[in-house]
């Protein structure tokens, strides 16, 4: 059986986080009643004219810079012509030969070798308007189709990678890192369920047959609605292409690129109806829109708004906060909101490592249990920082702190009130001392054991001390006991 290598390139459409559509003032909010967010411009009404959305240009440039792309001094709009029921003008305004971003790259974790990175090249990223949505009402036996044009004119950035990925795991890492970067920079929400991130994958195999390289025909897989689906579709498709090659011997020279869909429930790709003739989109510059000049000063301005990429944040958490690479990864990969949360907790508590471990354990567990996000988390970062600060200073032990944590999740209360409510009070050292003296008086054996060199013998008394006074700090009790015994 010949060896083969899987060659994968991804085209990712992300919806830019603008207040309005690409060429008009309509809202892009998801979930509105059909055809309620439309105007003559986005409906392509006779006589209506598009006007460019500056915010979309800014966000595209921001994404491009973060993806290490070249931003040319001039970009322009082109029309891509085709007839489709959800395309009101009969053409889509897109970018053809002068995309707003070109020649970039994104570094991702190498799934084959921990700690190493892989560099995935980017061919281009261009702006375009989205089309509408068709709903075919065939189930009820009716012939009619319904068209919702709310999405028409929604600004999309299409990011096209080089065919640099070699496995579905790499594709998944690429998508994860890309999504993280774009959400981090607030360029896009990347909500797959809402269609604000869509992926098409190009895949084929390079086989090594008797020392000769043979490539199988390229297949474009569409309609994958989760990263998991992308992974499974690519795995399925690689096997299918191999089997197909074994059966037919077809190579890239024998067959044109085809398009397949992904059926998530049956976990397989399926052939989509071939177009009779290959599409000729007849691109030409849109005469209704002037070319866009992007002066150096504008690009620099946008660059200044890029605070930090996720990769830079990971580095900083390690150097500035002393976290391990693993811990930095976990926190940064949770997204910008979690990174911000962590930093506040770390700063307020003065204890980044403790902040990191509480977030990874207690906070993430709670988020999972409550199926919520850090933005909705009931304990504000400052409050958790205060709580952990008390643990750090020894005012609270970990167990009592967890009680307070649980209380704060259920009650909107500050740390002091939570402690009061839970009967947690600071115990002064005189009180601890008299409690310890009494315990030692009652347990002469312990005193003997410690004097004999068995320091751990005090452990027995710490439990008893907590029973008498639950607020007694175990660490403080231990220290006091030893001090009293050793004089």
């Amino acid at each position: 059986m010949p060896q083969y290598e899987t060659i994968i390139g991804l085209e990712v459409h992300v919806q830019l986080k603008t207040d309005s559509k690409l060429f008009c003032g309509c809202s892009t909010q998801f979930g509105a009643p059909p055809n309620s967010q439309v105007c003559p411009v986005c409906l392509g009404m006779p006589g209506a004219l598009p006007v460019m959305n500056r915010q979309a240009i800014t966000l595209a440039v921001k994404a491009g810079l973060a993806l290490n792309c070249n931003i040319p001094p001039m970009t322009k709009w082109d029309r891509k012509q085709y007839f489709y029921p959800d395309l009101p003008k009969g053409y889509q305004i897109s970018q053809y030969d002068l995309p707003i971003c070109a020649d970039g790259f994104l570094d991702i974790d190498d799934p084959a070798s921990e700690g190493d990175t892989r560099r995935i090249g980017l061919i281009r990223a261009h702006l375009e308007e989205d089309a509408g949505k068709s709903q075919h009402d065939e189930a009820s036996g009716r012939q009619d189709s319904r068209i919702d044009l709310n999405r028409c004119g929604t600004p999309l950035l299409e990011i096209v990678s080089q065919p640099d990925m070699r496995s579905s795991a790499e594709a998944k890492n690429y998508l994860t890192e890309l999504k993280l970067l774009l959400t981090h920079l607030e360029v896009s929400d990347c909500e797959m369920q809402e269609g604000s991130l869509r992926v098409d994958a190009n895949i084929n195999l390079h086989l090594d047959v008797d020392g000769k390289k043979i490539a199988t025909p390229i297949v474009e897989v569409k309609n994958m609605n989760s990263f998991r689906a992308v992974e499974r579709a690519l795995d399925y498709e690689a096997e299918r292409q191999y089997a197909h090659w074994e059966e037919t011997g077809q190579t890239i020279k024998d067959a044109p690129k085809t398009t397949r869909g992904w059926d998530d429930s049956r976990e397989q790709t399926f052939a989509q109806r071939e177009k009779e003739e290959s599409a000729d989109y007849r691109y030409f510059p849109d005469p209704d829109l002037l070319p866009v000049r992007l002066p150096r000063s504008f690009i620099d301005q946008v660059r200044d708004t890029i605070q930090e990429t996720p990769a830079q944040a990971r580095d900083r958490l390690q150097t500035q906060h002393g976290l391990s690479a693993y811990d930095a990864d976990v926190i940064v990969n949770q997204g910008a909101a979690m990174l911000g949360y962590f930093e506040t907790v770390a700063d307020v508590s003065g204890d980044p490592k403790r902040a990191s471990s509480w977030i990874q354990q207690d906070v993430l567990r709670t988020l999972k249990e409550q199926e919520t996000s850090i933005e909705e988390f009931p304990i504000p970062a400052k409050r958790l920082g205060e709580l952990l600060g008390r643990v750090r200073s020894g005012d609270l032990d970990n167990n009592r702190a967890r009680d307070v944590f649980a209380y704060l999740i259920d009650n909107d209360s500050d740390v002091d009130s939570a402690c009061t409510a839970l009967g947690i009070e600071a115990v002064d050292s005189g009180e601890i001392e008299s409690l310890c003296q009494k315990l030692l008086d009652d347990n002469p054996q312990v005193v003997q054991d410690v004097r004999g060199g068995k320091q751990q013998a005090v452990g027995r008394l710490i439990g008893q001390a907590k029973k008498v006074n639950p607020n007694a700090n175990p660490q403080q009790v231990r220290e006091t006991l030893l001090k009293l015994i050793n004089g």
Binding site: P40, V41, L43, G44, M45, P46, G47, A48, L49, P50, V51, M52, R79, Q81, F83, P85, P88, K89, G90, Y91, Q143, I147, D280, R282, Y283, F284, P287, D288, L289, L290
Partner: protein, 491 residues
Amino acid sequence: MLDSVSAILNALASGDASARQITERSLDAIAQTDPKINAVTHVAAEAALATADDVDRRRAAGQPLGALAGVPIAIKDLICTTDMPTTCASRMLRDFVPPYDATVIRKLRDADAVLIGKTNMDEFAMGASNETSAYGPTRNPWNHDRIPGGSSGGSAATVAAGQVPASLGSDTGGSIRQPASHCGITGLKPTYGRVSRYGLVAFASSLDQIGPMAWSAEDVALLLETIAGYEPRDSTSLDTPVPEYSKAIQSADLRGIKIGVLRDGLEQDGLDESVRKSVTEAMQVFIDLGAEIVDVQLPHSQYWVPTYYVIAPCEASSNLSRYDGAHYGHRSDADIDPADGPLLSMYRHSRQEGFGSEVKRRIMIGTYALSTGYYDAYYNKALKVRRLIRGDYDAAFQQADLLLGPTAPTSAFALGDKLDDPIQMYLCDLYTVGANLAGIPAISIPAGLDDSGLPIGVQLQAPALEESRLLFAAAAFQSQTQFHQLRPGKP
């Protein structure tokens, strides 16, 4: 004669006439003459009278009024209006009433003009004779056997027939100037971007421009002053202040002005002797007014028509894709062709039935010229030549302040004469398309009559945004000549 904008404004101001009287007179004229000439596709009598009454009421109450208060104006039927259909004289858009007003319409309403109705045109503004309209041809008021010119033939004829004192047309390759020439009126194509295209149903976006048509340069100036100006909803709109055109024309002194004449253009085959004579005589008028005549060259003028007939159909083929039966335009009831399936079948039949043959011809030319393998040979090359043409004009305007020449090669020809010969029809735009390709302003003014008593126009062109210069020279010409005061007799 109460048929000019300025005369009507004076009569209204002095109380010699009410806006209602003027409007009723306009509606009567339409009722009387339009059965013969077919210039108007929709008459908004009720709304027009309501506007007129409102103007009269406000005038009586001493309230402020707009610059065109009470003046009836007709609108070419490809400019969007909320209270009238906008059909582009196409079966495709027969029932289309836009939900919004074009910018020029909003400006006319703000100026309290009385919008009297919509005018006939070549279908989607494609044609030079007004014969491709789904409403049937418009006839020239000077001679009913003749065409009025196109594609703003209805807008020209409605003025020439005395139905309204002024109208709006659109000019993609000469569509305002050429019918103005054939109908003996004054028509201006402004600088590209001077007047907002928002709400103008596109034919060829990079060439289209809305402009005014009326008897005199003075009236045209008043209209342009109202409709010009920056519009943020049109990216190609120019953000420069609008001069007071009506003040710029109040002088008849052309001393120091250099008028360039394209000698080659006057030697051209197909140029009618009577047109050549009118241009020569116009040159003398300008000399008498103190202007100096200089020779200029526009070396690439022989490529104007071919360049135009690549770029315009390319843009048109794209602009007209939206009329697919699903979104806009006529939807066919024809049976599904099994080979195409329901969707493609619906598209094909709808476009087949909805568009006329000239529109189809241009869609086919444009689709072909943009398709893979032909793009560079046609569209891309045309863009390059267009740049050379602009360069020619820049050079010519180094030598001359204005350019003078024919508007159309002949006076109005007979109906049906060129309908079966598209090339002959396309050559009607020979002298006008250059201004559209270069984006510069140009005006056609009446300058003579031929042997059969048909009007002849001459054209003046100026550098971008120099409408004042054009209107000033045209008004000076009209201060010394009577051609713009001639009216059609009984044809």
